[in-house]
Symmetry: C2
Subunit: 169 residues, 2 copies
Amino acid sequence: MTKIASGLERAFAGQGFAEPSVEDLRDAAGVSLRTLYKYTPSRDDMVHAALEHRHRRYLERVFDALPADRIAALDALMERVGGWMETETSHGCLFHAAVAAAPGDARLRALLERHKGEVAARAAAATGLAGRGIDLLLILEGLTQTWPLHRDAAVASAKRLGRALVEIT
Amino acid sequence: MTKIASGLERAFAGQGFAEPSVEDLRDAAGVSLRTLYKYTPSRDDMVHAALEHRHRRYLERVFDALPADRIAALDALMERVGGWMETETSHGCLFHAAVAAAPGDARLRALLERHKGEVAARAAAATGLAGRGIDLLLILEGLTQTWPLHRDAAVASAKRLGRALVEIT
DNA sequence: GCACAGGTAGAGGGATCATTCTACATCGTC
DNA sequence: GACGATGTAGAATGATCCCTCTACCTGTGC
């Protein structure tokens, strides 16, 4: 159920992965404990479901229908990530936070890898910078991490670095 | 006691912030529970002590005695961060991980802010790129986050972006 | 009108954990 | 060689948490 995943995502994004108890998660999901455990049979599964949901939402919101022009696409990309941070999360990347909270969970690590891989590929495709996926991912990661402290200045910095990357390509 | 802080740092870096029990932390610190609680009266204080210790070690290892030449300093900076990741942490930045684990802790957030501010200032000073602290911080954050997945390719990418930043300055 | 699939509310078990407290050992100093 | 400060070992406590289970409700197809 997407309503459950959506509620779980909101709870983890707002309170982190350690703090919310399963009863908090139940309230956020808006279902009973029994139903919650039916779709996500353990707390780890709740984390997983929340991240799967976020993955889809992130890709859609950040990469859909970017401008065709390369510079415009880069600028729009950075602005959308800034906008995502503004409305969706107060601090950093939820996938990295999840892995940091449970460093031993291989399933989570695989999900992180898949998420970042797809972000890099989509960024490279959207800007026509084939083979520069890692550079773009590095800028996006840097933006995501510095945004909470520097806000618009971080977005401006990411745009600057994006342009610089184009110039040396 | 620096021995306690050092052991705590090692435990949190290896197991994350949620997993290790206070008894695990006691073992890592190499003292008794009583002594541990004497110097760090709560588990939160243990986290704080570990991060203070890491802050000092990081600055020393990454920024001490960098080359005078700008490009050489930038390259060395990226390589040192890569080396730090290699030996000191398997995943991401410990300060961000700590804040992600306890999003409500204002003391932790202040420590993160201080740490990142000092990193940005030192990076700008070491490379003579005054006013470009945010750009450098963004690259360093991006490197730290992408290193676990891309290793040497992440370091190479950070060097490339550092050079590109110099070219447009 | 009824049976049933799937929902809610919420109490309870079993385990873990942070913190405190008691009892004993060690070591430097006079 | 005795004393006080400081350390160790580890049990006890009180709370929290994940997960299961019981008992009851609701809506839909026939």
